[in-house]
């Protein structure tokens, strides 16, 4: 079963961290990604996203595009990065994400990815 792990962080949170905390997070993140890539459960790479202010949100209404600067949701917590997991169960995916250093500082959401396969009922 495939899952996406979505790292949400508070806008100012990273800036508010001390240099020591940042270094700790960065070095641990590398080890975390490697450990579960090696176990064959983390698939592909992890992606860190640029600040939400650098992006745009696009809507097309009645054939007309409306483009706004910035993120879709004006939430305090924004998507900061993501990676994919392929594990036996949601329990196992949760267990892995518990080890993500980002979960200690912010929050990581684990969401199943829809399968294109299915069973007739």
């Amino acid at each position: 079963m495939k899952y996406v792990a979505l790292i949400y962080s508070n806008h100012g949170a990273f800036e508010a961290m001390s240099q020591a905390e940042r270094d700790e997070l960065m070095s641990e993140a590398g080890g975390y990604l490697k450990e579960f890539t090696d176990s064959g459960e983390l698939i592909g790479e992890g992606f860190a996203l640029a600040d939400p202010s650098t992006g745009r949100t696009v809507r097309v209404r009645d054939g007309l595009p409306a483009v706004t600067d910035g993120p879709f949701a004006e939430a305090k917590e924004q998507l900061a990065g993501f990676y994919l997991l392929d594990t036996e169960s949601l329990e196992r995916a949760t267990q892995i994400v518990t080890r993500d250093p980002a979960a200690r500082f912010w929050a990581v959401e684990v969401r199943p990815i829809m399968d294109t396969a299915g069973t007739e009922m």
């Binding site: 890539t37 090696d38 176990s39 698939i43 990815i113 829809m114 294109t116 299915g118 009922m121």
Partner: protein, 419 residues
């Protein structure tokens, strides 16, 4: 590209893969390195044979090429190790080049069975068991396995190398499990094959065709286990179950990928020879071997497959089979299907009552299959409002796109009854 007797090179290679590997491991030990060497020999053959023709003794060719790769690898390994260890201590190592064992086992029969057990060793994770079985016994490449499971090749490579490290570190011997563990270990082998089958079967439409090939690979491997253990009823039962299920493959989806429930499938499109073979297998197993869950599930599939129309289905017999299955192998998914049979024989309320026994398990109570079955039975019972909300809830809970599409469509038919 086919050889003179009409067998494709690829089929030939897959058939020889476990025999060549078995022969190498017997002679040199080192399952992990032997497995890599066999893969290289298979790749070399896949490139050369179609161009230059299949060698006269293809199996011997593969063994020779793989053995050469392996000894090269062992020598360079040994040299590397010596370089590394020279500084520390000069320990003579004869571990890497064991004396060759005498050549034996003309058919490789025992070796193939041993490989099945080794690849499905309980010390390995299920994902690793699947990948290793497909590569070491099935002769598939890492790339083919990765395409089938829709993950990057590196991920499958990791799972295989993990599994091989585990086998090495745990000193799992290359031999059949002791008689006392044989039945339990065979269960795992069959489970691995069934997982491979289901991975392919549920995906047998549209863009997932490559994944769908896992179904035929699982059937091929199940045939192989059956050839090696012709008197085991559960092996026959699993093969029968796969055939009787796969027989419906062409009818189970619309061309656009949406699911067609069993009752609405065009039975003309079912594969008649699979049904015939499956029915014969399960009938024979039931008559002469101890009863087991695969045989019972195959028997249930056979009753469905033998009905010319959905309305001809012998639900009384299916119900009796589910009662037996629930007795010898109780689990919530069996209870779910049992409830459907109860509803067909004794009416939807009786079915709903049996479903109610699963509500105690909070996690299962929200499982989309339970909610979907409840929706169906409520619809049968004429409670359309409750059916509607259960279809919607099941649609939200499933993680399969075609299932969600199907469940939403069922809900939409009942929208005017929504509360």
């Amino acid at each position: 590209m086919t050889t003179e007797d009409g067998v494709g090179v690829e089929d030939l290679l897959r058939q020889f893969a476990p025999q060549v590997l078995g022969s190498l491991v017997r002679r040199y030990g080192h399952f992990d390195l032997s497995e890599d060497a066999v893969q290289e020999a298979l790749l070399a053959a896949a490139l050369q044979w179609p161009e230059q023709g299949t060698p006269e003794k293809p199996r011997a060719w593969l063994i020779t090429v793989a053995a050469r790769r392996l000894t090269d690898e062992l020598r360079s390994d040994e040299a590397r190790r010596r370089r590394e260890e020279r500084a520390a201590a000069e320990v003579p190592s004869d571990e890497y080049l064991e004396p060759p064992e005498p050549e034996h086992l003309p058919t490789g029969t025992d070796d193939t069975l041993t490989l099945f057990f080794l690849c499905a060793h309980p010390a390995l994770s299920p994902a690793s068991q699947l990948a290793l079985t497909l590569r070491a016994v099935g002769g598939l490449t890492t790339a083919e396995i990765a395409r089938a499971f829709l993950v990057p090749e590196a991920t499958i490579a990791q799972r295989i190398s993990r599994a091989k490290q585990r086998i090495k570190a745990s000193r799992i011997p290359f031999s059949l499990p002791p008689e006392s563990e044989r039945a339990e270990r065979l269960d795992v082998v069959l489970q691995v094959l069934y997982l491979i089958f289901n991975e392919g079967y549920t995906a047998s439409s549209g863009p997932d065709l490559q994944r769908g090939e896992l179904t035929s690979e699982a059937i091929r491997l199940a045939r192989e286990v059956r050839r090696l253990l012709p008197n085991d009823g559960e092996v026959a039962g699993l093969l029968a179950l796969m055939l009787l299920t796969d027989a419906r493959r062409a009818a189970r989806t619309h061309p656009n990928g949406s699911l067609v429930p069993l009752a609405e499938q065009d039975r003309e499109r079912w594969t008649a020879n699979y049904i015939k073979e499956g029915v014969a297998l399960v009938t024979d197993a039931l008559a002469r071997t101890p009863l087991g869950p695969y045989q019972l599930q195959a028997a249930i599939a056979a009753v469905h497959d033998e009905a010319a129309r959905a309305s001809d289905t012998d639900w009384v017999q299916i119900l009796a089979l589910y009662e037996l299955l629930e007795r010898i192998s109780p689990n919530p998914m069996v209870t779910l299907n049992h409830a459907v049979a109860v509803a067909m024989v004794k009416g939807p309320r009786a079915g709903l009552e049996l479903l109610g026994t699963l509500d105690g398990d909070r996690r299962l109570a929200e499982h989309h299959r339970l909610v979907a079955v409840r929706a169906h039975l409520l619809e049968m019972a004429g409670d359309r409002a409750a059916a509607h909300s259960n279809y919607r809830r099941a649609a939200r809970r499933t993680t399969s796109l075609p299932e969600r599409r199907y469940l939403d469509a069922r809900a939409n038919r009942l929208t005017r009854y929504a509360p």
